[in-house]
Symmetry: C2
DNA sequence: TAATTTTGATTGACTGATCAATCAATAAAA
DNA sequence: TTTTATTGATTGATCAGTCAATCAAAATTA
């Protein structure tokens, strides 16, 4: 079986398995053994490639974030107007795979971990900043800068909140409802602003 | 030392210590030993009174929720109009002790735990429902029922989202800013609705 | 009241299980 | 032969949970 060039294959398999196991388990207190088993290798191999459990977890969240960023970049490129770009950001946040219970559970677990792991926290701060700045940049084309920052803050909070509420799986708010709630917020804030400026 | 009637005293000390340790540690992976040490008793006593770590954790979240409910009840009683009651709900959500880093960390840890523990999940669902229904009940006096439910959903999400974003401690949004962001949302939604109805 | 029994509070020491991490050994490709 | 991939076996640490023993206050009895 041993063939050269397995490293990237194994690394990916382990990171994917980690995400799956964390999502299923809903917690970062998963064992290296379980992750390795899901990836079809021995626990020793996981340590061989990642050095420690913490490192594997870091790589896992890195991959989760990369996926989200790639999706956002693609969605942003596909449209042109600032308003459409805002909608694109919202849509990506709630896209099906992000909204899957296992994915939400994984995000939540990482948020909790960020209270202790500086590196995990850094990754989540990057995510939060990216979401905010994507919104701010496009809102600034539609309203004054200070209002743009305020609205972006509110919209980002609403997105994260809809997300966390989803994790409880009670009174489930659908993807479409989540999107329109956020869109409504942006819309009514901009409308109130326009009206205020005329007066 | 042994005096009769220590049970309620010890239970409270242990629950308080658990909350403190969880908050500091930012995770539910805290040891019974650490909790017991903080409460000034032996680990064996903690087991004696609570039976298991899980049970102590359940009691801990129950106490966190009770505190919040009591505060909400008090705040709601203090005002009369529906609009003022909505503001009261918002204010309580962001009151200083709820917004303390340790408290936020504890909430987050419980949200993560809810992915695995049915009982923890039930408690958080109760919290989510209570927040929502407090908002809905008072919004219904100000707008149609379906709009009330929609706005309540959005406001609750925004509150939870501001909360979770606070946990990252980057770009800290102050208590006042959090309150006015949520108030703005309610206000602009109601305004848009009123305008729509006239037209 | 004094002596005795019962009961609640409390702990130190221990156990069993779990797990991350290590390492020496093997097997196959280069 | 050297290098890369891989694992089984093992180790050391950590913890939840148990238990028998202790201590002192209450309750009971003499």
């Amino acid at each position: 079986m041993p063939k050269v060039g397995m490293e990237p294959v194994r690394r990916k398999a382990l990171v994917d398995a980690a995400l799956r196991v964390i999502g299923d388990h809903g917690s970062l207190t998963v064992t290296m053994s379980e992750i390795a088993r899901q990836a079809g290798v021995s626990p020793a191999l996981a340590h061989h490639y990642f050095g420690s459990k913490e490192q594997l977890l870091i790589e896992t969240i890195r991959s989760l974030l990369k996926q989200l960023r790639d999706d956002a970049v693609t969605a942003l490129k596909a449209v042109n107007t600032p308003r459409a770009k805002i909608s694109a950001v919202i849509r990506v946040s709630f896209q099906a795979d992000q909204f899957a219970p296992a994915t939400i559970a994984a995000w939540l677990a990482f948020y909790a971990e960020a209270q202790r792991s500086e590196e995990t926290r850094r990754f989540l701060v990057i995510y939060a900043r990216r979401l905010r700045s994507n919104l701010v940049a496009n809102l600034k084309a539609l309203c004054p800068g200070d209002a743009a920052e305020r609205i972006a803050e509110g919209a980002a909070a609403m997105i994260d909140g809809l997300y966390i509420r989803q994790s409880l799986r009670s009174a489930p708010v659908s993807i479409e409802a989540s999107i329109s709630l956020t869109e409504d917020y942006i819309h009514s804030q901009l409308a109130a602003l326009a009206k205020g400026q005329i007066q």
